[in-house]
């Protein structure tokens, strides 16, 4: 319930929200947890394995119990920490992981079966009968496990990612972080101060402390006002630094819109990549629970959380609160509760020699042995140096001491070191280059320690950066010593929880040790200790201590498991912002794109490009109708296709020819001026990289064409060969792919069509010629090349004229009985001619396989030449390129067998790479790789395609089906 006069919430602003369908009212400045506690709700969730009722344990992002689903229209966010979620008008939350209502969860029967569900039980059973695992046991386990529910709907909300750079990143805005930020800001450094909470101030918001003789908040506000006024400081609230990565890169998650109703444009979250020259980890410390019997009841909370709800949110977490602690620091909670008028039932201090000055019962040498209250704590039983006791209490505030929040220092494989003084792990120096931990994160638990180490860390960071921090008077603050006697667990007949979130108890740890899972990693993996949403933040150290105890080793010898990124979980949507839908990869459009779409062409992805599949006409019911028609344009009249996606690389210099001779298997230094030559390019491992034509535009000037798919690959390859093997050659090259729109014009009437658009009619322009032309006054390049076997040209104009030329060419072609053709027709045309694409040169084929070994010049070296000669890449055992023909349909991907042999991997003779129906030949044709194929032309092979239920005979033939002599090309 609320306590008048306490807290930083805005009492004037009421916020209404719903939890499990019931409306509640809180205040601006409340988290969902504080608002629920203020409304007297204790059970907020169910545990993972035993489905025990659970309440709020902490007041921070490490919360293991109070995980809820946040509901929206058609969407929901599972596993949301109620301790982090701010309330807003209209917030709708509900509890998760129960079958039936939160109060009567049917899965809680698991709790009764707990003796049979001990650590690793599932590895030892469910093995017989075998089929039952998948059909019965596993589905049941899966349904009961898990936590919240994901919506089945696409998450269409906005998210973003962003970058930031700074001199100094300060992580955490408590006294340490504020002091570090002030120091470095005054030194003139470019500073980012990142704070996970929605309000800066860290522990000072909750602790009710005094700095420089005034309430700490006065100092906090003054510091923030100064920082906010400085142009070299960026303050980032609601921003959790989630990971430390190489070279000073940090990941951080900003909760941009989670504290308000959804908005169409406002990102829910932003994932930041912050590059910092130096960083100060001022993330404070986390209080740790005590594993006493039945320590998981709602109402049993961290002492610091009780303090935080009291001082920051003005909420009393109980009417009769008990404090159970092993250290001096936690006593403050009891004192502050009493000062605020909350009754403290008793202070239980595990240390027999601790002080007893408070105005309430103080039991020394105390331990809690049992707790009562199924749906919320009612009473506890225990003993102390004076005997046994039973206390009626509805809230137990526990403190087993503090662990520095050092997780980020482990992200680059740094191992923390054990401090016997603190009974805690502390960061190792230099674990993350450029980052130092200060304040409580480094084991300085007093406010004075925080301020002074924060200052010192900043002074050092400034010195590293060559900046001088001006003198600054350190504010005065409490400097109480941190006195603690370790207390990890209390033995008793009931289960005592370590990992609340994964339902791991102390017995599980001892059982793991008993079964030989004594390595800390084995223990973790066997018991699942520390693998839950809090990643062991609340429990790992105690679990280690118990394992150390069970194995007779010390904690340092036992070692720790590794904290890995992220510090707190990050939504896939935030990390993958920009990935959803079309924005996953850039879209590349040809200049003819709109013209093709205007004609109803389905556009298909070709790498990043979009290309027209075919151009449907009225009355055509199948894509093949359109395709056949477009093929006939080219075979009988003239067809026009946009081929601009092919890579084009302009190569110049006195060594250009020499360079081409090195990267191609064949020779280009002998290519006459104004001529084009087909070239084959190998990878250095001797297999085919790419093919294409290269034109000689001048004595020292070439234009290389690559396939669409390999354009980037080839550019990288050329850069490599140039810079590593030919750096001092006289050579410059640059991509001109985007500079030119290029159109294939093919067919018997191609020349006529060309002549109708060229400013000067074409003179003698033989096959494989290239030369400059003009179209409507625009300078263009004309190539006489063909990918169809017909008389073919490709005309290239500057891209800005591409669309106009395409529309013009198509319109003219149509008046000549032709028209545009798309990828489908292009594929048929090339197959009829036996031209290969990356369906054939798929990375496993060599020049020998495609019958081009003669193109590997014997007179010169080239990239890939030596490795292409390896025995395994040559000879009759290799699958070689052949043609296939058949009267019935067959498909690519079918496998081929010698007639009469069984169909098995061992007897396979090859496979089909490409196929089509050839309207020109009136049958089904394809390309295939067949063992010793070139010697098998004329043989009928059995083609088997289990996927398409095809089993037929196909005839092996020359891969060039159409015009094998090439007369039409040269016509």
């Amino acid at each position: 319930m609320r306590i008048a006069g306490k807290g930083l919430i805005d009492r004037d602003t009421q916020v209404s929200f719903r939890f499990n369908g019931t409306s509640y009212v809180g205040h601006r400045g409340d988290t969902l947890a504080s608002a629920l506690l203020a409304n007297g709700l204790r059970v907020v969730g169910r545990s993972f394995k035993y489905h025990r009722p659970r309440g709020v344990l902490t007041a921070g992002s490490e919360e293991p119990n109070a995980l809820v689903e946040i509901m929206e229209e058609g969407q929901q966010t599972p596993n949301t920490r109620a301790t982090v979620q701010e309330i807003f008008d209209g917030l709708e939350a509900r509890s998760q992981n129960h079958l039936g209502s939160l109060r009567w969860d049917l899965w809680s029967l698991n709790d009764l079966a707990a003796p049979f569900l001990s650590a690793g039980f599932y590895y030892k059973t469910f093995m017989w009968p075998r089929a039952f695992w998948e059909k019965l046991y596993e589905p049941a386990i899966r349904r009961a496990a898990g936590l919240g529910n994901l919506s089945p709907n696409a998450d269409t909300a906005p998210y973003e990612k962003a970058w930031a750079s700074c001199d100094l990143l300060v992580i955490g805005s408590g006294p340490t972080g504020l002091m570090a930020a002030l120091t470095s800001a005054r030194a003139g450094a470019d500073v980012i101060l990142a704070e996970e909470d929605f309000r800066m101030g860290g522990a000072l918001l909750s602790a009710d402390q005094v700095i420089d003789g005034q309430p700490a908040l006065v100092w906090v506000e003054a510091a923030l006002a100064e920082l906010d006024s400085l142009p070299n400081v960026r303050l980032m609230t609601r921003t959790t630094v989630t990971g430390a990565y190489d070279s000073g890169v940090f990941g951080a998650l900003e909760r941009v819109g989670l504290h308000r109703a959804p908005d169409a444009h406002l990102p829910r979250e932003c994932f930041w990549r912050i590059t910092a020259r130096r960083a100060i980890l001022a993330s404070g410390a986390m209080e740790r629970p005590i594993a006493f019997p039945l320590n998981d009841r709602p109402g049993i909370m961290m002492a610091s959380a009780v303090q935080s709800y009291l001082n920051r949110f003005g909420v009393a977490t109980g009417r009769r609160v008990t404090l159970y602690a092993n250290n001096d620091a936690a006593r403050v909670t009891a004192r502050q509760l009493m000062a605020a008028g909350v009754r403290v039932a008793a202070i239980l201090d595990s240390r027999p020699d601790a002080s007893a000055v408070e105005d309430c019962p103080v039991y020394l040498g105390a331990e809690v042995l049992e707790t009562h209250g199924r749906h919320g704590l009612r009473a506890i039983q225990g003993r102390h140096t004076g005997g046994e006791f039973r206390l009626d209490t509805d809230c137990l505030a526990m403190s087993g001491g503090w662990n520095p929040t050092l997780h980020l220092t482990c992200h680059m494989n740094g191992r923390p070191k054990w401090s016997a003084d603190l009974a805690a792990f502390v960061p190792s120096d230099g674990a993350v280059p450029g980052l130092v931990a200060a304040g409580a994160a480094n084991g300085s638990f007093s406010t004075h320690g925080a301020l002074s180490t924060g200052h010192a860390a900043a002074v050092q960071a400034m010195a590293d950066l060559g900046l001088t921090a001006p003198d600054l008077a350190l504010p005065t603050a409490e400097d109480a010593p941190y006195r603690l006697t370790p207390l990890w667990s209390v033995k008793g007949k009931h289960r005592a929880w370590l990992d609340f979130a994964n339902d791991v108890t102390t017995k599980d740890i001892t059982q793991a040790a008993q079964e030989g899972y004594t390595s800390v990693e084995h223990m973790k993996r066997y018991t699942t200790q520390g693998m839950a949403p809090d990643q062991g933040k609340n429990s790992n150290v105690a679990a280690l201590a118990l394992l150390a105890d069970a194995t007779g080793r010390g904690i340092p010898e036992t070692g720790t498991t590794t904290f890995r990124p992220p510090f707190t979980p990050i939504s896939i949507a935030a990390l993958g912002a920009g990935g959803r839908g079309k924005t996953f990869a850039p879209q590349r459009f040809m200049t003819s794109d709109q013209a093709s779409r205007d004609r109803g062409a389905p556009m298909i992805e070709a790498g990043l490009w979009y290309r027209p599949s075919y151009f449907p006409k009225h009355g055509e019911t199948h894509w093949r109708d359109s395709c056949n028609r477009e093929v006939s344009y080219v075979r009988n009249a003239v067809g026009v296709a946009d081929v601009s996606t092919l890579g084009k690389i302009d190569i110049q210099g006195r060594d250009a020819a020499r360079f081409l001779d090195l990267v191609y298997t064949n020779t280009f230094s002998t290519l006459p001026l104004n001529r084009v030559r087909y070239g084959l390019m190998l990878r250095e491992d001797g297999l085919v990289l790419d093919d294409g034509t290269t034109a000689r535009l001048g004595e020292n000037h070439y234009l290389m064409t690559t396939t669409t798919a390999a354009a980037g690959l080839v550019m990288r390859h050329l850069d490599f060969v140039h810079q590593t093997h030919a750096a001092d050659w006289d050579l410059r090259f640059i991509s001109v792919t985007e500079t030119w729109a290029q159109f294939a014009i093919a067919g018997p009437k191609a020349r006529a069509l060309l002549n109708s658009v060229l400013d000067q009619p074409l003179g003698d322009f033989p096959f494989m010629a290239v030369g400059p032309v003009t179209v409507g006054g625009v300078k263009a390049r004309l190539f006489r090349i063909s990918f169809s076997g017909e008389q073919g040209y490709e005309i290239a104009v500057p891209t800005r004229y591409g669309e106009a030329l395409f529309r013009d060419l198509v319109a003219r072609a149509e008046t000549m009985g032709g028209g545009p053709y798309g990828m489908e027709a292009l594929n048929v045309l090339r197959l009829e001619k036996g031209f290969i694409t990356h369906a054939e040169i798929h990375g496993r084929t060599g020049a020998f396989d495609i019958g081009m070994d003669k193109m590997v010049s014997a007179k010169k070296d080239c990239i890939g030449k030596r490795m292409a000669m390896r025995e395994g890449l040559n000879g009759p055992e290799r699958e070689q390129l052949v043609g296939l023909r058949c009267k019935t349909e067959f498909g690519s991907g079918a496998h081929l067998f010698t007639q009469g042999t069984r169909v098995h991997r061992e007897t396979g003779q090859g496979y089909v790479t490409s196929m089509c129906y050839s309207p020109t030949l009136g049958e089904w044709i394809g390309l295939a790789f067949v063992k010793n194929g070139r010697a098998r032309h004329g043989e009928d092979l059995r083609l088997v395609d289990h996927m398409r239920n095809t089993d037929c005979l196909v005839t092996v033939c020359n891969p060039v089906f159409f015009d094998p002599e090439g007369g039409k090309l040269r016509a």
Binding site: S247, F720, T724, A727
Partner: protein
């Protein structure tokens, strides 16, 4: 992870394409024995520690880079342009 391109300055790792060990720089003579080529293309010292390897500033200036770095810590010790090495040419 960031690399400092000698031309472009410190840049995020995502601008770079990784190729492999510096062995790729030492192309054997065309008639060298197959063992030399096997060494060049396939066999790797694969050191856990400081190594040199090849990166390409594909999202930047298109320089091929020889990077000296530690494969255990990811510390980058130096970056040089392959084309600027002494005696770089074939």
């Amino acid at each position: 992870m960031r690399l400092t391109c000698p031309l472009c300055g410190p840049r995020d790792r995502r601008e770079f394409y990784y190729y492999g060990a510096e062995d790729y720089l030492h192309r054997p003579a065309p008639d060298a024995p197959i063992e030399a080529w096997d060494d060049h293309l396939h066999l790797r010292t694969n050191l856990a520690g400081v190594i040199k390897d090849l990166w390409y500033h594909e999202g930047g200036c298109a320089s091929w880079l020889l990077v000296t770095r530690n494969t255990i810590t990811h510390e980058v010790l130096s970056v040089e342009r392959v084309a600027d090495r002494k005696g770089a040419s074939a």
